[in-house]
Point group: C2
Chain length 664, copies 2
């Protein structure tokens, strides 16, 4: 049943050698890895206008200036990361750059920041997508969190099926979104140039500045608000690092293809961002955080009756005032791209998780590829955390976005420091002037990137800390400590497992003990098998829970003429495990250099309800004996007829040719 | 933590040899085993008056006649059971009598009936007790089911502590109840004789007969109603069989003490029953099933505003109209005895369950004595079923009581048939005239008992079947089929386990396979141990989930100069279990007379979260290998330092002198 369901959801298992086929050409890699960065233009302009609204309409004239600074930062970051993908093509991305150049503690910091940000990418993008859908589909309204959780589960299922199929599935919406936004901008500016572009619906409102700005948009407060606006606008930069973490998924030449895709993505993203800001300015857009109180119609707040549509939907309604179907196309692509943007994280998180698991910072299970060759455990984990966030914040984008970005800029900044050190180190030994020239140029680019991202990080920390960023920072700190603890555990285990001697001294003797409860076929088989291992000595052991039963057993033992001595130990508290453990320990104390093999006869039944009808003391006893030094715990199974049912379950011969021997 | 809680609730573990001390003297056995039978006078008279009310006040004159017939049945049953406890003192009770004399199918029928009735005893008594409490304590009203469930859990805990303590705890309330009811009767009749006894509060009402009896109390309908009333009154007989099932818990001479206790109980019960019915008649009591509609004040129904108190509380209020504190004492003892009556079932159910488990009709775990020497699993099971009933019927006595009695009379009747056959069989061989006389007398008593209980069973079936008894019958049928199925399973397993040959042919050779994932200390220890068992041949086996890892392993294997050949098997689907199984099966197919020992190196960690950090593939593999014939699964544990924490957990040396060796 369970298995059938699994096959339906994720498809049949793939052989390991199919792995090579899941590499991506540029035209597919762009939608897979860039949907996050591109989709953020669906909420970054909203955040810019929304934050400026606090100071009233007076501040709106700064919107395009802030947009230009964001574009400058974006282009700088893209230029910097083009250096990264060439220097570190293995997919470790920022984590690898920081680890190699700054040491494992900085690497771990970057990793923690990125893991938290991946989760937030899913939560923010899905929530934003659902809120867009809600403004078009009334049925979704009020159930945003439920729909968002459903979409996360859908993405999880798609990704468990494997990366390639998801790439193909995401190409159309991503390209569709790009053409929709750029097309809207071009057509809007064309109409504006000829004076035919109508205002947006919100142009009729004025905006009430908060009391802080009642004296006008001046002073320190104004400066701080501009910084905050800039911070929010920087949401447009999230997702740029996705490509540098995803280099191994590219077709060869990997680095070159990744760098080209990165540049393409940056160009498209800034074009779309500036297009939307420009359109907003020429159509008289007003966009507020609390529209009911902030937006005024004739000096009076509009109240709860007014539903504020997203920026893109308002612009599309104005630009396509005569071609209504194109409005729907634009909004639909926006909603879909936002949901699909979360897929970037589903590509990045599991890969980073598997690298961290390989390095011993996360449980090993994250490094295991599932039936479809995806890192299934990482995918499930990401979906789980994202669902927790969505439920906790009830899928509210404006609240979730406060936790966002800080992690991205921590990783940007540390990565750029690392890159500067990287080039400096290379320059120390490089003699070839041409190569030195290239390296020097790269170092300048990364140095500029460092300054830029460092400044943005400080601005983000100052303006967002108390508004939610502290939660993200706490999550990163917890992850950091956890990952260090896991690594320490694995290190300790590895050290303990390190053999002192390749050929340890052989145990002098092997004492065999066969546990007996009744004289039946499993017991006799266990005795025969124990004899076949030719131990130094062999005894049968029984625990006398009931004195009468024990006497009966001794009598039958003697009557059957069994040639193995039977030891009976008392158990006044009717326990099985403790007396056996004590007996074995006595043995071990008296001859610590010997090995004791405890044979446990077990009969095996096939049905779950049959298991209930038999005491499970053998299982408990086996578990406890594992903690005794110098002991081998040997189960001698006796298969009852019903056990055949279970044996077929994973008969490997049912998948013909699946298993062949490699070496003798 | 868990262990501390367990010790607090049920006390420290008791040694098996403390078992003798939990036997009961008569003065304690009476309250322990008779509280059920005695307490039923708290609801049996209510049911008699309530059922007669259907025909209006005209039918009330039959109440004492019906009471007398119930007394006659009660005395007959007591006399019959005095024969049972002498003939079958082992505590098998009706189950043993029916099995021995009528065969296992009838024995099983009795067992199913009794098990169902024990559960109903708990549900009915506790519910009735809580409803009594509710009429005195307003806070309980509306939360009857919750309080009842709490009380069941309390009784469970008390019984898990062991039978003797519960006996002592129940003596005072039971004797208190006996004196309270008999004292009330004596004082009430004394006041009546001198004309000072006031009417009860409900004497002011008249009762509206249902439409069926609007023409008066005549015809077939009247006869049927009298039979139904009688059926309900027979609730007073429930619990009589408890003593015959509890003989082994009596002090010696067990049978004689049990028979005396039985007689004592019967006398007290009928005295109380007739006392209450008489008082009800002389104080003008009216008691209806639906008081709001049936009770009329001046020809008008009293409506929901009137709260009908239980019969005992109405009588006590009238009898003690001048001595109010004694009213409270009487009602309090009634409430408490009803709750404690359930304890009878907590003594009977686990013992019967353990006998059935010993006979293979129920899972063996029911035959295991817990830490305090009680049959813990049976106690927990009884509490669980009773809670289900209480929740399902919302602790409503009048509905639960319809399911009751039918099981008791099935077991009464079959038991009496069995006893008649018992005496007939004995008489066939007995020569001594004195003994023959005693046996003949016993046979007459049991024969009379058979006729009486048989007639009552038919009456109960006719009058109660559609009103709920069918549910109890279905439950019995399900139990019957289930127990037969379990027995068949155990029989089949026992037949399969029967050795064909006491000294089966020794396996010709022992092939050892050591599973290897890395070259570390656990692997080397497993290799050394495997060598110490001197197998016919020894190979190391690894599954190549990752081709690179496998190559690295082979290189290290060669580099270290290990003298055991390493076999590498491919696993294109990244599985561990299936390829190993297939390899082992190949081995077994090629030499089926040999035994294969699969050594699994396991490192053992002590903390639960450490377990999470290591793949659990060894556990799964061990579980699957058990289904393979000809295989020994040998775990070679390697204890990491943290495992010491767990080893101390059940160090038997911490209870000094607990374990001594019995035989060499």
């Amino acid at each position: 049943m369970n298995d059938v369901l699994k096959r339906l959801v994720i498809g049949r298992a793939l052989r390991s050698d199919k792995l090579g086929e899941t590499l991506l050409p540029k035209r597919i890699a762009l939608p897979v890895f860039a949907s996050d960065a591109l989709s953020s233009v669906a909420y970054a302009p909203d955040e810019i206008f929304l934050t400026l609204s606090i100071a009233g309409l007076a501040a709106y004239s700064f919107s395009w200036k802030i947009g230009l600074i964001v574009v400058l930062v974006m282009l700088t970051v893209v230029a910097s990361y083009r250096q990264n993908v060439h220097a570190y093509p293995s997919g470790g991305g920022d984590y690898e750059v920081a680890t190699v150049n700054l040491g494992p503690r900085f690497g771990l910091t970057v990793a923690a920041a990125l893991l938290v940000d991946y989760v937030l990418t899913v939560a923010v993008s899905i929530s934003s997508g659902v809120q867009n859908a809600a403004s078009a589909i009334p049925a979704v309204e009020g159930h945003e969190a439920v729909v968002a959780v459903g979409l996360v589960l859908l993405l999880m299922a798609i990704n468990l099926r494997g990366v390639k199929e998801s790439g193909a599935a995401f190409a159309i919406p991503t390209y569709g979104f790009m053409f929709a936004i750029i097309g809207m901008t071009v057509f809007g500016l064309y109409r504006y140039a000829f004076g035919h572009l109508p205002d947006v619906e919100s142009a009729q409102f004025s905006i009430a500045p908060t009391s802080e700005f009642s004296q006008g948009f001046t002073g320190l407060a104004a400066g701080f608000l501009l910084l905050r606006t800039f911070s929010s606008g920087c949401a447009a930069l999230t997702g740029v690092e996705a490509i540098s973490n995803g280099v191994p998924a590219f077709k060869k030449p990997k680095s070159k293809n990744a760098a080209t895709t990165l540049l393409l993505m940056g160009t498209v993203a800034v074009t779309m961002l500036m297009g939307i800001i420009t359109l907003g300015n020429v159509t008289g857009l007003r966009f507020a955080e609390f529209p009911a109180e902030q937006l005024l119609r004739g000096g009076v707040p509009v109240g709860d009756g007014y539903t504020q549509h997203t920026v893109i939907s308002q612009l599309a309604a104005a630009v396509y005032s005569d071609v209504r179907p194109l409005f729907y196309v634009t909004v639909a692509f926006t909603g879909v791209i936002l949901v699909l943007a979360a897929n970037t994280a589903f590509n990045g998180f599991p890969v980073l998780g598997s690298i961290l698991a390989k390095d011993g910072y996360l449980p090993r299970q994250l490094h295991t590829r599932g039936d479809r060759l995806a890192y299934s455990n990482g995918i499930v984990l990401l979906a789980g955390f994202a669902i927790v966030l969505i439920v906790a914040y009830d899928a509210k984008v404006t609240q979730l976005i406060q936790l966002y970005i800080v992690g991205v800029f921590i990783s940007f900044t540390l990565s750029q420091i690392g890159m500067v050190r990287h080039w400096t180190r290379l320059l120390r030994t490089e003699k070839d002037p041409a190569a030195r020239g290239r390296m020097g140029r790269s170092r300048v680019i990364n140095g500029f990137g460092l300054v830029m991202t460092g400044v943005v990080l400080v601005i983000v920390l100052i303006t967002k800390f108390t508004r939610g960023a502290y939660i993200a920072l706490i999550a990163m700190a917890v992850l950091f400590v956890l990952m260090q603890g896991i690594r320490r555990h694995y290190d300790r285990v590895r050290a303990e497992l390190e053999p002192e001697d390749v050929n340890p001294p052989l145990p002098s003797r092997n004492h065999a003990i066969v546990l007996v409860s009744k004289v039946h076929a499993p017991t006799l088989r266990a005795l025969a098998y124990a004899k076949a291992t030719r131990p130094h000595d062999l005894t049968a052991l029984t625990v006398a829970v009931d004195a009468e039963d024990a006497r009966a057993l001794q009598d039958e033992w003697d009557a059957r003429g069994l040639d193995v001595p039977l030891t009976i130990i008392a158990s006044p508290y009717r326990e099985i495990t403790a007396p056996v453990l004590e007996h074995v320990r006595d043995y071990h104390r008296s001859s610590p250099r010997d090995v004791i093999t405890v044979f446990i006869p077990e009969y095996v039944v096939g049905r779950w309800w049959e298991q209930l009808l038999h005491n499970q003391s053998a299982l408990r006893l086996k578990g406890r004996l594992l903690f005794e030094p110098g002991v081998i715990v040997a189960s001698v199974p006796y298969q009852l007829r019903s056990s055949d049912r279970r044996r077929g379950d994973d008969d490997p011969t049912s998948s013909p040719g699946a298993f062949r021997r490699l070496a003798p």
